[in-house]
């Protein structure tokens, strides 16, 4: 299992500003994942953060808008840049969930960051 600390837990931000979300894991992991969950909706993968290389972004998400850092095997940050009200959402970091012939592993999630842009 993995314990993930994510902060801030919530924030209210002015449009045009940026917010950096931090994610700390209690063990070393190769891949960390960032998801967005809009109210009442499912989880959408934003990007996969690998230590020592550029993050891999999913369709519809770009590095300029969601820059990610991964300085070591236990930590990652996601920045939501130049925010607009449409960015209001819950942002979740996750570890585990990797694939493999045995079926893959379960995903563990941080508590989430509830972002409101006004």
């Amino acid at each position: 299992s993995a314990v993930i600390s994510q902060k801030p837990s919530r924030d209210i931000c002015q449009r045009g500003t940026s917010l950096t979300i931090q994610c700390q894991v209690d063990s070393q992991v190769t891949m960390m994942f960032w998801y967005r969950q809009q109210p009442g909706q499912s989880l959408t993968l934003i990007a996969t953060a690998n230590q020592g290389s550029e993050a891999t972004y999913e369709s519809g998400f770009v590095i300029d808008k969601f820059p990610i850092s991964r300085p070591n095997l236990t930590f990652s940050t996601l920045t939501v840049s130049n925010m607009s009200p449409e960015d209001s959402s819950i942002y979740l970091c996750s570890v585990g969930g990797g694939g493999g012939r045995a079926g893959g592993t379960e995903a563990f999630f941080g508590q989430g960051t509830r972002l409101t842009v006004v």
């Binding site: 009442g40 499912s42 990797g98 694939g99 493999g100 045995a102 379960e106 999630f109």
Partner: protein, 113 residues
């Protein structure tokens, strides 16, 4: 791209009634996972199914993986108020370590005491 749909979107039941949510993928899956998210909480892993036709039980919860590995279901017998939350299936398409899980649209369960 891969899509994973769930039905129903919402289900409101009387406590003690049964509940079922269905998950359908547009592509064949290597495995499927189920998660529960309580209101205000984060998703928590329930189970993983890997084999075609697999059935697993956890107390009142029964999970099935279809023969074609494109659909799955979660059935809760005699619901309790603690079952309230949103249930997500999450399907994986490949077997590589880099293969991603794609979350279904979720089914929100509410219960009348």
């Amino acid at each position: 791209g891969q899509q994973v749909m769930q039905i129903p979107q919402y289900q409101h039941v009387q406590e003690g009634e049964d509940f079922t949510t269905y998950c359908n993928s547009s592509t064949t899956l290597s495995n499927i996972q189920w998660y529960k998210q309580r209101p205000g909480g984060h998703p928590v892993f329930l189970i993983q199914l890997v084999k075609s036709g697999e059935v697993k039980k956890q107390k009142r919860l029964t999970f099935q993986f279809g023969e074609a590995k494109k659909n799955s279901s979660l059935h809760i017998t005699a619901t309790q108020t603690t079952d309230v939350g949103t249930y997500f299936c999450a399907g994986r398409e490949g077997y590589s370590s880099a293969s991603k899980i794609i979350f279904g649209s979720g089914t929100r369960l509410s219960i009348r005491p």
